[in-house]
Amino acid sequence: MSDSTYTQLLDLACGAFLLAAVVVLWRRDLASIVRVFAFQGLALMAIATLLGLHEHRWDLLAVAAGIGVLRAGVLPFLMRRALAASGETRETQPLVNVAASLLTAAALTLLAYAVSRPLVELDPSPATRALPVGLAVVLIGFFILVTRRRALSQVVGFLLLDNGITAVAFLAASGVPLIVELGVSFDVLLAVLVLHILTTRMRAAFGRTDIDDLRELRD
């Protein structure tokens, strides 16, 4: 693989990665949000695979395959099951309306580029130049986590955050050691399972999963 095709493909994968985060912010239909999240998992897998191929590190390919299975397979499957059980199909009323949150995402992307500028200048390579993309996805994930009401879209926000962190790790340092990656992946899986249970209990208690209903703590 020549250097220029590698750069182009990496840019393309990073573009798709960022675009998926934006589309999650754009859509109201929870089922399509889950689909877009799975697509983002594929883009993340593509980033890891490209880096592995470029640097001839075969363990990265194994990590990429693991990421693909977890983020494009298992997690969307779990979310789809939660969705089917809850019977909710739409994110009805985000705290910030969709047009404003899209404009906020634009500002967050610019912020990500601004703050990662010094990091990129340390060692400008195609991978580190794409670093702001990962950071932007982290910020957008945070934003979704803060402004969405339905439990499922909050789970997606949390997972976007994690996708962004993984992408930053890959782009900045060609990934973390395999054992750390495994630990993080199991953590994420566990968190989603716990949130799945929480969602089910919320639905049992309130009949819906609007986070605003959780106003008081009880034992």
Partner: protein, 317 residues
């Protein structure tokens, strides 16, 4: 050089003016056939224009100069844009001045003059249409600017012929993430600017859904003919802009007559194909609620911004 260039510009403008109603007719015909109707034929908009031009000019009492000048201004600005945008040739006498910002400003001038005319009539519909049009325009203009900026960064200039000829020599620029994002953003902006579905329904006269039609309800006779022609020319020019920026193959970069003639034919084909695809898509789309329109436009603005950041940061200046 100048002789062929001037001929190319003249041919571009003549083709846009003469072809715009035919494009509208083609799109209506495609829609009609897909909906199972016979349709009025491709030449029907021309026949409508001829009928309107023969009628007596009438203006409502109490309207001022804004109402009378707007149709002329709309057609004139669009004709100038048709001369500026490199639809057939990048080597024209105007290619030095064919700046992106001029083109967007001329398009905005047409929009604003029509909105002023809508306000000038003093009717409820005119004012409502003008206010809606301005809401849409406020988001569309920056989107068009930004999405073309994304392409202008690799070319190093906001001059449209430079961008187009750069893209002809280096097709890789268009396949980059920036190019794809900019295409999507510009396509949405073009739909909104030309007043097509899903932003505005051009064939409606229902007060809840009108944007463009609400502003021009008071026009009759030759003025209405000009407004209709202006709207059709805008659609043609915008589709042409989209085609020249993202499928620039065949546009003449030298001043040879054969290349210009081929480019004109290709331009007509590209715009006809785009129009037919748009008309076919419109059969399956519903109009968005007015309150959802800013959402769509903000989304396309964001795509354009991402395109700019991607082309500026990812490819390393």
């Amino acid at each position: 050089m100048t002789g062929t260039g001037a001929a190319a510009v003249t041919a571009q403008v003549v083709l846009v003016v003469a072809g715009a109603p035919l494009l509208a007719g083609l799109m209506r015909q495609v829609r009609a056939r897909m909906e199972g109707r016979a349709g009025g034929g491709v030449g029907q908009p021309w026949r409508d224009l001829r009928k309107l031009l023969r009628k007596e000019p009438i203006t409502p009492t109490g309207t001022g100069p804004a109402f009378r000048i707007a149709p002329l201004l709309l057609v004139a600005t669009t004709a100038v844009v048709a001369a500026l945008v490199p639809l057939a040739s990048t080597a024209t006498p105007f290619s030095e001045r064919a700046d992106l910002i001029v083109v967007v400003a001329l398009l905005a001038l047409g929009t604003v003059s029509l909105a002023l005319a809508g306000l000038d009539t003093g009717t409820a519909f005119g004012g409502m249409g003008a206010s809606r049009e301005m809401t849409v325009a406020a988001l569309v203009e920056p989107t068009i600017l930004l999405s073309v900026f994304a392409l202008s960064i690799p070319a190093g200039s906001t001059n449209l012929p430079t961008i187009v000829s750069g893209a002809i020599h280096e097709p890789g620029r268009l396949a980059s993430p920036a190019g794809l994002l900019a295409t999507a953003a510009l396509a949405v902006a073009v739909l909104a600017e030309a007043g097509r579905l899903p932003v505005d329904n051009p064939s409606t006269h229902l007060e809840l859904t009108m944007i463009h039609e609400a502003m021009v309800l008071e026009y009759a006779g030759p003025d209405l003919a000009l407004v209709e022609l202006g709207a059709q020319m805008r659609l043609t020019v915008l589709l042409g802009l989209l085609a020249s920026l993202f499928a620039p193959w065949g546009i003449a970069t030298t001043a040879s007559l054969a290349a210009v003639a081929l480019a004109l034919v290709l331009f007509a084909v590209k715009v006809a194909v785009l129009g037919a695809v748009l008309a076919a898509a419109e059969v399956f789309w519903a109009k968005l609620r007015l309150f959802r329109v800013p959402e769509l436009l903000a989304g396309s603005f964001l795509l354009a911004l991402l395109a700019v950041t991607a082309s500026f940061f990812l490819s390393g200046e």
